[in-house]
Amino acid sequence: MKKKLIELQVNGEVYSLAVKPNDTLLDALRDHLGLVGTKEGCSVGECGACTVLANGRPVLSCLTLALDATGVQITTIEGVSQGEALDPIQQAFVDHGAVQCGFCTPGMILTAKELLTNQKRPSVAQIKESISGNFCRCTGYTKIVEAIEAASKEQGA
């Protein structure tokens, strides 16, 4: 398959890369750019582990073609924290024990990031609904919901 040269804007940087027409955004991030914080859990858009933000909106990078991801600002988990300091959502995940195996964590945090950007004080039901496309098998979601709730309070304070 013939490769095509594209430019991706990821975490504020512009990258030039040659991708195949069937390369997904997930392939581009993980295999081309080495941004392996974005995880592949199912590759068919069901588990949410590959969630990244495109212009602030969560997208499933396993279902998005790399060719279609040009011209938007992509944020991956590597772009969430500011230098050494963790984002308040990341910090809340750490403090509240919301991380176990950690495989769903990057996608979960990015989904939460979008939620808290658009909704200052979501209810527990709204938090659960918003992360219901991000599958977690370890935590029973309890501490994840608690962490997002705590981060929203922190943000509102």
Partner: protein
């Protein structure tokens, strides 16, 4: 020197975490405070964030699939499309012509050595790493390819020509037992994979002495772990013929053994490294997976590193899963609910190979002897081969199936006798000092406290008679109970290694390295081991670096299964930490002209009891140790073997589920689950809660929705959505009560949490559904269809009665 060190220290600045900040002492302040500190844990029992959480939230934790080596090839596996067939011929010539394809391997490229995780009996060693002459389930590994990229590998898989001769297949255990059924293995006439019988007391006599005897049959579905990280392996050989394999596993030492066996090399030539693992729940506890072997052999054949990652489809169609079990349970009780006798027969649908199934066959029978006292007990378990993917261990390992049957039946019995299930649980619950019917020695039991706590907290008795209904939805509440071993007391293989060993090393700079073969797969054992070491050495979590697990560096360990890590590896860590402290105290005592018994380690310092002005920093103490020992670093070790061949100790739990059932749709919403869990002393309550909460939602999925459907041995729903594991918007409110105790065997009094927490959930939900709508579903999962069908049947029966 001591004085100077103290003047230099800036306590406020150096106290880095909460627990220490709460401690109101300074070495120069009153002696009384230093002494009171000795009686208090600094790190143990605190809600500390896990040591790996920061890396994980930043996306910096590397799992096997995140690793890349120069020149690395991509591997893929060709799987059988037939449930049972002979392999006549495999022709890979066309596949090898695909540009980028470097190698194809089949059974003929192997030494044709069988392996099996339970290698104590040759009967259980029944599997080839790649099929030889015959395949026994759809999805069985037939060949594997290594190519420069995934496209070439996929194309090559299509071009491998396999000539099969289809054989009659059998999918149902009942059918497989019939005379004339297709025979799956030559070594197992009648398709009997394992039989296990257990007898304690006299059940017949027990039934005669009983006031009520009930017999019920329960069936459970095919469930699967659905860990989020698919299996992955990356293999590389060096010039001296040594293999390094990074793999997503719970049991690196079994992987090492199995690889050595199937590759025909000495185990010391195999180095298995476990990077971060994205969950396992028993699905990565079998030792070697086919992809480990294929990565290794392909890498050897091509001379290049090879990585293989299972697709989610492969995980659902071919990986290990939980046994579906048919359980016939006959239980006799006295009028007051006292259990007198139990006879249980279980038929396990084993799938095509043994995996851990021979043990599951035992555990269905033994685990149901917790948490209750059953004076007369008989169990007959049978595991039957079928042409389906092999079943092995899944969280709870035989417990969830048996406990669903047990606690639903006891709820029925309580109702029939008109007694409170809570009173019945309390009457029959095993107490400290007792021995279960299967021979489990209970050295600490907080079961009664668990039951009382949840019954009281949920107002169980009162709410049971609610029959509250709101807009077509009915409320129900139910109790489920359980108990679970804190680790197996034996290896699956013959070995001279201890169950767990830990090495601690400290050198210049005072940093402490902990080496353990115990595998953190997300449950948090690395953090717990660090907490134990930190507590003993008076250090903070951030002072400790842990390596787990790398068979070339870390000492052997059974691995992460049977809920064993906290007690076994924790005790090994405790022993090693005590040994390190002893060495340090010895040199410090000499220097300070004090008695080693009078020293205390806390806040990165060594103090003399009674004269708090005499102190030395941990770093100086380590340097002093080196000076006194010709510059050699401090290296100590600790090992642990379960003193009881069954298990060192047992956890207990009682859970109450509250549900709402929609009368029109049959849909069940679990509103709240309240747990009382006795894991002795929770070493990190936040981590314990995480295990309990995870179990609750997994148990809820098992109760209500999760199910792999088959037709002709073909998995019909190989996807997350098809399998229907719970999403966040289905998760209930969860309340966890720690029933804190002090187990005499566990490190700092701790017991297990990771698996036992699953057992009570499913029966609690099943009993709550009955409480809501009055129908008993004895066949998991309890789907809306089954509820509506039973409700209709009940209504019809009722109509007939009133006619």
């Amino acid at each position: 020197m001591v004085q100077k060190e103290c003047w230099k220290c800036n306590i406020r600045k150096r106290l880095r975490f909460d627990t220490h900040e709460q401690l109101p002492y300074h070495p120069l302040r009153a002696e009384r405070k230093v002494i009171s500190l000795m009686n208090e844990y600094h790190v143990i029992g605190k809600r500390l964030p896990r040591i790996d959480a920061k890396e994980k939230v930043r996306g910096q934790a590397h799992y096997t699939d995140d690793l890349k080596l120069p020149g690395m090839l991509c591997g893929m596996i060709l799987r059988s499309p037939f449930a049972h067939a002979g392999i006549l011929k495999i022709d890979a010539s066309r596949a090898l012509k695909v540009p980028g394809v470097k190698a194809v391997i089949t059974g003929d490229d192997t030494i044709k050595a069988k392996y099996g995780v339970i290698s104590r009996s040759p009967k259980f060693v029944d599997e080839y790493a790649l099929a030889v002459d015959r395949v026994r389930f759809i999805g069985e590994e037939v060949a594997a390819v290594a190519a420069a990229d995934p496209d070439a590998a996929l194309e090559a898989l299509d071009l491998i020509q396999v000539d099969y001769e289809e054989l009659p297949a059998v999918f149902d255990p009942d059918e497989a037992l019939k005379p004339g059924a297709p025979q799956i293995h030559d070594h197992a006439p009648g398709n009997m994979s394992r039989e296990f019988h257990l007898k304690q007391g006299d059940v017949e006599k027990g039934f005669l002495e009983s006031d009520l005897v009930r017999e019920d049959t329960f069936t459970t579905q095919s469930a699967i772990h659905a860990y989020l990280e698919p299996h992955a392996a990356l293999a590389e050989w060096d010039m001296s013929g040594r293999l390094t394999l990074h793999t997503s596993t719970q049991t690196p030492y079994y992987v090492q053994q199995h690889l050595a066996l199937t590759l025909g090399i000495n185990p010391d030539r195999v180095r298995v490294i476990k990077p971060y693992v994205g969950g396992g729940f028993g699905g990565k506890s079998d030792g070697m997976a086919a992809l480990d072997f294929c990565a290794a052999l392909l890498a050897r054949k091509t001379g290049k590193p090879v990585k293989l990652v299972y697709s989610r489809d492969e995980e659902f169609t071919a990986a290990r899963r939980k046994h579906p079990v048919t359980i016939t349970m006959k239980t006799g009780v006295k009028k007051d609910g006292t259990l007198v006798a139990r006879q249980c027969k279980a038929f396990l649908d084993g799938g095509a190979y043994c995996s851990l199934g021979p043990l599951t066959t035992v555990l269905v029978g033994t685990f149901q002897t917790l948490p209750y006292r059953i004076p007369n007990y008989q169990y007959d378990g049978y595991r039957i081969y079928t042409n389906k993917p092999p079943c092995g261990a899944m969280r709870g390992h035989g417990g969830p199936q048996a406990h669903f049957a047990q606690d639903v039946q006891l709820d029925m019995i309580a109702e029939e006798l008109g007694i409170d299930p809570v009173q019945m649980a309390l009457r029959n619950g095993l107490r400290t000092g007792e021995r279960s019917a299967a021979g489990f020695n209970i050295i600490s039991s907080g079961f009664a406290e668990c039951v009382r706590k949840v019954a009281e907290d949920t107002k169980l008795k009162e709410k049971k008679s609610y029959r509250k209904s709101d807009r077509g939805k009915v409320y129900g509440i139910g109790l489920g109970c359980g108990g679970f071993p804190s680790g197996a007391g034996f290896y699956f293989t013959n070995t001279t290694s201890a169950h767990s060993s830990v090495i601690i090393r400290a050198g210049e700079g005072g940093g402490v390295s902990v080496l353990t073969g115990a595998s953190d797969i997300g449950q948090g054992s690395d953090s717990i081991i660090c907490q134990i070491v930190a507590e003993v050495l008076g250090l903070g979590l951030e002072d400790i670096r842990i390596t787990s697990a790398d068979t070339a560096m870390t000492p052997p360990d059974m691995g992460t299964y049977s809920s064993r890590v906290t007690v076994a590896a924790g005790n090994a860590a405790l022993k090693a930490a005590h040994a390190a402290r002893e060495e340090i105290f010895r040199v410090v005592a000499k220097k300070m002209e004090a008695n080693p018994e009078d020293l205390v380690a806390a806040d990165r310092r060594i103090f003399v009891k009674g004269s708090p002005e005499a102190l030395m920093s941990f770093e100086d103490a380590v340097n002093l140790y080196q000076t006194e020992n010709e510059g050699a670093p401090l290296v100590v070790k600790g090992s642990y073997n379960s003193p009881d061949k069954m298990s060192p100790t047992y956890s207990f739990g009682a859970y109450v589920a509250e549900v709402e059932v929609d009368l029109r749709t049959g849909e069940v919403q679990v509103q709240r689950i309240t747990a009382g869990h006795d894991c002795g002393q929770p070493l990190n309550p936040m981590s314990v809660e995480g295990q309990v909460e995870g179990c609750m939602v997994m148990g809820m999925g098992y109760a209500l929705s999760e199910n792999l459907s088959f037709e002709g041995g073909q998995t019909l729903n190989p996807s997350f959505l098809g399998y229907r594991a719970p999403a966040a918007n289905q998760s209930p409110e969860i309340v966890v009560h720690h029933i804190v105790g002090h187990d005499p065997e566990g490190p700092f009094g701790a017991k297990e949490t990771g698996e036992g927490s699953l057992d009570p959930v499913t029966p609690a939900i099943a009993n709550a559904i009955y409480n809501a709508v009055g129908v008993r579903i004895k066949d998991l999962p309890i789907t809306p269809e089954k509820i509506l069908r039973e409700m209709k049947k009940k209504a019809k029966g009722h109509e007939k009665e009133t006619d």
